[in-house]
């Protein structure tokens, strides 16, 4: 679908070059160089207030960086229009605002916005994509429900369905499993992991559940606060020493039949 599948292998995807981000007098990261490659599923970890949301918004180009650039397919975000960005990159915000009445299907359908010309109406194909996205987050059958009648977890899955309808190559997800019951947490992360495994998509998620991170994410980005950042493959970075320092709490680890399990001591 995308026109910008460049010849350079590391040109496609999302990258930060010398990125420094501040918020409220705090430094989230300093001179961060990182490449989120296609096919990778990233977890962003850190304490409350470490700057996960701020960094995600900066990577999405919705917030200016103090210095450095974010590159999408090898081009700085600032050189692209919001519409161009939104066709390649999606963001699931941490919370949703619904001051006006809306139906579930319409809300999911808004994900098609960047793909349509200003005068164009959503067609049968767009509606089909939205329906399929709703089915993928287990909301099939709720298409005509009013959004304000959904439960917190259902609303969250609708937000995810909007991103799936947008169908970006790079999805930045701010605590995607917030409010979800256990089954949907596992099912949706497995679905996202599967989507990245095809090799064309990237997911970057702020998460808190270490066991879900260990199970579904192949890369981890740790925000220690005050600008210190650590990132790399999950098996190298997700150690009890790093986690104890990151979270300010001793963390234990045992191996089980589903892989390593982490717990607070």
């Amino acid at each position: 679908m995308s026109a910008a599948q460049g010849a350079m292998p590391d040109a496609a995807g999302l990258a930060a070059r010398g990125l420094t981000v501040h918020i409220g007098g705090k430094t989230v990261c300093r001179d961060l160089d990182i490449v989120f490659d296609a096919g990778q599923c990233w977890a962003m970890l850190g304490r409350n207030g470490a700057g996960k949301t701020t960094l995600l918004h900066t990577l999405a180009g919705l917030r200016p960086a103090a210095s450095g650039t974010v590159e999408l397919d090898g081009r700085p975000l600032a050189a692209l229009s919001r519409r161009q960005v939104a066709r390649r990159l999606g963001l699931l915000p941490q919370s949703h605002q619904d001051p006006f009445p809306a139906r579930v299907l319409e809300t999911a359908l808004s994900g098609r916005h960047p793909h349509l010309a200003p005068w164009q109406w959503e067609g049968a194909l767009d509606i089909e994509l939205a329906r399929r996205a709703l089915a993928r987050v287990d909301l099939a059958g709720l298409e005509t429900r009013m959004v304000d009648s959904l439960s917190g977890g259902e609303r969250r899955r609708l937000g995810l369905a909007t991103v799936l309808t947008q169908d970006p190559a790079i999805a930045l997800l701010d605590e995607p499993v917030n409010h979800l019951d256990l089954h949907h947490q596992v099912a949706l992360l497995a679905m996202l992991r599967e989507a990245t495994r095809s090799g064309e998509r990237t997911a970057v998620m702020a998460l808190h559940d270490l066991n879900l991170v260990a199970r579904y994410c192949d890369h981890v980005l740790m925000l220690f606060g005050e600008g210190e950042v650590l990132h790399g493959p999950t098996e190298r970075v997700l150690t009890t020493e790093n986690l104890a320092r990151l979270l300010g709490h001793p963390i234990g680890r045992v191996t089980s039949e589903v892989g390593p399990l982490y717990f607070p001591m």
Binding site: A60, P93, H96, P99, F100, P101, S110, H113, T162
Partner: protein, 323 residues
């Protein structure tokens, strides 16, 4: 889809309201005679004059004003992400009213009154925009608070002007404040502005749909939020300024018409904006017709009638809930 049916229905309602307005009045004019007069055919001299020189301009001015206010209301509600917003919430009508009262106080009328009202609206609009923009960021809350506080300031100025004015000019001033279409003789400008507003707003309509979910979601879906905010603010303000210039501050239409449509199940701004223009126009035409006929020859303030029609209608819709 229901929306496909709604616009033709609203078109029909508009035509009906226009016909009723042209047929009503102290001089009886029949439907056949009206058609003849409108198509340039025969007609008695008296009826011709009454319809073409009195009723038609006033009816079209009422339609344009209602269309302007309802569109401006729909835009303001999205801009401020607040269903309670109306075209006057940011004090644009307050600026217009202050300038208009000053004009009335020094004995101006007609075009001079319109010009000063429009100038007052522009001053209010620039003031709100400049002050709300001051800090760099431009959040709906900051805009709303700036506007509401300035509106309170204009309100105080209006009270002061009323208190200081001689009794002779008070009645005219009060009618202006309550909204009055009796002086509206040249509807062409207002109609043009209403149509231009719709033409300019419609290409933004799908972006408005996305913006109802908040700036972050809109930005993530490819909307240039800062540019869209500025465009809606300018558009809504100019529409309001045009409406206030024609007819003073007619309340209620701008707040309730967009919500009435939302309650009827219209949520897509590509349908909501033209629908609001038609429904707002038709509502104000009906209200103005009643205002000049119910207690004839006494003329009632049209704002009283819009509320009298709109309040029960809206409450019935609200009881039914969103469809």
């Amino acid at each position: 889809m229901r929306a496909r049916l709604l616009l033709p229905l609203l078109g029909l309602l508009t035509l009906t309201s226009l016909a009723m307005a042209l047929l009503s009045g102290s001089l009886a004019v029949g439907p056949v005679e009206l058609l003849h007069i409108l198509t340039g055919g025969r007609g008695t001299g008296m009826a011709r004059e009454v319809v073409l020189d009195l009723r038609l301009p006033r009816t079209l001015a009422a339609f344009a004003t209602g269309a302007l206010l309802a569109q401006a209301g729909a835009l303001m509600q999205v801009l401020l992400r607040n269903p309670l917003a109306d075209p006057y919430v940011l004090g644009i009508s307050g600026g217009a009213a202050t300038a208009a009262l000053v004009a009335l106080g020094v004995g101006l009328g007609g075009l001079a009154l319109s010009v000063s009202a429009f100038a007052g609206a522009l001053v209010a609009m620039i003031l709100v925009f400049g002050l709300a923009h001051g800090g760099g960021t431009w959040s709906p809350n900051r805009l709303l608070l700036t506007g509401v506080v300035l509106a309170a300031g204009w309100g105080a100025l209006i009270s002061l002007l009323l208190a200081l004015s001689p009794n002779a000019s008070l009645r005219g001033m009060l009618f202006w404040l309550m909204g009055d279409l009796s002086g509206a003789a040249h509807p062409a400008t207002a109609l043009t502005v209403a149509a231009a507003g719709l033409v300019l707003a419609l290409p933004l309509a799908r972006e408005l749909n996305v913006l109802t979910a908040g700036t972050l979601q809109a930005g993530a879906l490819g909307v240039n939020v800062a540019r869209l905010h500025a465009a809606i603010y300018l558009l809504a303000s100019l529409l309001t300024a045009a409406a206030v210039t024609v007819a003073g501050s007619i309340g209620f239409v701008g707040l309730v018409v967009p919500h009435a449509l939302r309650l009827l199940g219209v949520r897509d701004h590509r349908v909501l904006l033209p629908g609001a223009a038609l429904l707002g126009g038709a509502l104000l035409v009906l209200a103005d017709t009643l205002a000049r006929t119910v207690a004839a020859p006494q003329q009632l303030p049209v704002g009283v009638i819009t509320a009298a029609l709109g309040v029960p209608l809206f409450l019935v819709l609200l009881r039914r809930g969103y469809r």
